[in-house]
């Protein structure tokens, strides 16, 4: 049954090799040019920039502070007159300001999770898959240990040792985010390394590290981009799980995940508590998604 599977390799790999000195530059220049041609990706990038800017600076537009409860205005609906544009939460705090504040944390968490996954996950998976043999076994078993370890304890331990700090949450999220990515990249690498262009590079005496970085990684980047966009929401929601357990951000600071969780509880009496943070989260993720797709297309070596 396998006979029917033609194994025509993409031929571009060889070109890469021939021009290694300029390929590096042209790959990225090329990618940028193609990315800028992708309208959906470009619009998404602009929207994302706007969201980030609003999250960073928007709070100054509101007369309210993020941690000022108003016991006379609990669960109030959005109202331009009171300048509670997004309404108030269960303690009468302004949701506009809190949504933007939550955005800073969640964007950081999402971006960091994706970054760690892309960097560590990709290199780890590509190395394990390409080198193979004992190293592959050890690296994969290490992954399994990490994936099976009850992560909650890791977070609790980090906090006990280093005190409550936002960075610890980032570390915890980074620690879990790259595991699946590494496995997926390894799977692709196993398939790629038998392809002619890789074998050719090998024969040509290119070092292992160089093959991984120059040939394997560019060829898995498409998949990496897709999976990374899926990781962003997962990590943002993982943070809310940590918060729910008492291991996430400290009140009165907040995050989109924490706001969503609170909003879900009062959905029947105060819809806006869910809708505004959810709206921001969904928009952001769609942007990440289109940017991811754009990057995938731009970086795809086969399309060049």
């Amino acid at each position: 049954m396998n006979a029917s599977l033609p194994a025509l390799p993409p031929l571009v790999g060889l070109d890469d090799d021939a021009n290694t000195s300029i390929a590096g530059r042209s790959l990225w220049v090329d990618a940028r040019r193609r990315f800028l041609r992708n309208r959906a990706a470009l619009v998404s990038l602009c929207v994302l920039v706007i969201i980030v800017t609003v999250c960073l600076l928007g709070a100054t537009l509101s007369p309210y502070a993020y941690d000022d409860p108003d016991f006379a205005a609990m669960h109030n609906a959005p109202d331009t007159q009171t300048q509670h544009w997004f309404g108030t939460d269960n303690l009468g705090r302004d949701l506009f300001v809190r949504t933007l504040l939550g955005g800073r944390i969640s964007l950081m968490v999402g971006a960091l999770g994706a970054l760690v996954a892309v960097l560590i996950g990709t290199l780890y998976g590509a190395t394990a898959g390409f080198v193979g043999g004992k190293l592959d076994s050890v690296m994969m078993r290490f992954l399994e240990i990490l994936a099976s370890f009850p992560i909650m304890f890791l977070v609790i331990l980090l906090m006990t040792l280093f005190g409550r700090d936002l960075w610890l949450i980032f570390i915890a999220i980074g620690a879990v985010s790259w595991l699946d990515m590494a496995r997926i990249v390894r799977g692709q690498t196993l398939s790629l390394k038998r392809k002619e262009f890789v074998e050719a590079a090998h024969v040509a005496g290119v070092s292992t590290a160089r093959i991984i970085v120059r040939h394997i990684v560019p060829n898995v980047l498409g998949l990496v981009a897709v999976y990374a966009t899926l990781l962003v929401p997962s990590m943002i929601l993982f943070e809310s799980f940590l918060s729910y357990l008492g291991l996430g951000v400290q009140e009165p600071t907040t995050s989109w995940g924490a706001l969503l969780e609170q909003g879900a509880k009062s959905i029947e009496v105060a819809m806006w508590e869910l809708i505004f943070p959810a709206g921001f989260l969904v928009t952001t993720l769609f942007c990440f998604n289109f940017i991811g797709d754009g990057l995938r297309d731009a970086l795809d070596p086969k399309d060049r």
């Binding site: 304890f153 331990l157 398939s191 981009a225 769609f286």
Partner: protein, 308 residues
């Protein structure tokens, strides 16, 4: 193949599990608060008596060796929290429940996810693609803790056609909502990955050649494109399967399902060391097994990947 399996078990699985058990055993004990601390501050003598009953009066290395000795006989010890049961009893009762729920969700996620992904890839950049991927994106974004109460509200409270929770031995009506919530995330992820890799495969030389030869699309898809496109999906399935049958904490706690997820989260919160260890071993074993299966599957999908 047999050699591969044997080697995987004896030279890899067993040492891996041993490392996992050791690391987990000591690290969870470093976390503040023990299994027997409670709001009511019990007198030290009482606490000592309780600890003695659970071997916690011994030194840590002795406890560890004792645990390993029991483990070698398949005994996971008594639960530190649920005093009427051993970990073996609790896990044995919970595993079939989580498996039943998880496998149902897994099959649904696989079928719908792959179909949606392929459809979106074939109709790339059309309204089909956009709507399928839009729904998938919402599936990833919409957290279980939002979806579960919403579904319960609509189907149990308003329409009154499905129960809002409970398991009742896994009757069909009791499974519908939890399975729906559980598979949502995985459908979305599988659809996204399938679409991405299918687009890549469809753009590759050998498919172009096949199309140039005038072969019908469904034939190309079935005979040539599907298998390589599924490679990254298969990579994802190993951890995903383990996650789906063990990690459904929100679904299990919300719908009151007596599975592994509830045991695990309560075990961690209660510092039920023996429970956490037992479940970690279970998850580790599953993880190793399914990753091994995935590695074998690679060989079927792409004969160039030979298992050694």
């Amino acid at each position: 193949m047999l050699r591969f399996i044997l080697r995987r078990i004896f030279f890899e699985a067993v040492p891996t599990l041993l490392v996992l058990v050791t690391v987990t055993f000591f690290l969870i004990r470093l976390a503040p608060g023990g299994p027997f601390s409670s709001e009511m501050n019990v007198p030290p003598e009482v606490k000592a008596a309780i600890e003695a009953k659970y071997r916690m009066d011994q030194s840590l290395p002795m406890q560890y060796l004792g645990y390993l000795a029991d483990l070698a006989q398949g005994d996971l010890g008594p639960s530190f929290k649920y005093k009427d049961f051993t970990v073996n009893e609790l896990v044995n009762k919970a595993v079939p429940v989580s498996f039943k729920l998880g496998i149902a969700a897994f099959i649904i996620a696989l079928i719908f996810g792959v179909c949606a992904g392929v459809a979106a890839a074939l109709k790339q950049n059309t309204w089909i693609d956009y709507s399928v991927m839009g729904v998938a994106m919402i599936g990833v974004v919409l957290p279980n803790f939002v979806l579960a109460p919403m579904l319960a509200l609509v189907f149990a409270v308003w329409l009154k056609i499905l129960p809002a929770g409970g398991w009742e031995g896994g009757q069909f009506t009791f499974m519908v909502l939890p399975v729906a919530v559980l598979c949502k995330h995985y459908i979305s992820v599988i659809a996204r990955i399938t679409r991405g890799s299918m687009i890549e495969v469809l753009g590759s030389q050998f498919i172009r050649t096949a199309r140039a030869k005038g072969l019908p699309m469904h034939y190309i898809l079935r005979r040539h494109a599907l298998k390589p496109a599924l490679l990254p999906v298969v990579s994802y399935l190993g951890p995903a399967f383990v996650g789906i049958i063990t990690g459904s904490v929100v679904v299990e706690t919300f719908f009151g399902i007596p599975g592994i997820g509830q045991l695990f989260i309560n075990g961690a919160l209660n510092r039920d060391y023996s429970m956490v260890l037992g479940l970690t071993i279970l998850i580790g074993t599953l993880m190793i097994t399914f990753n091994a299966i995935v590695d074998i599957l690679y060989g079927f999908i792409d004969p160039r990947i030979r298992i050694k």
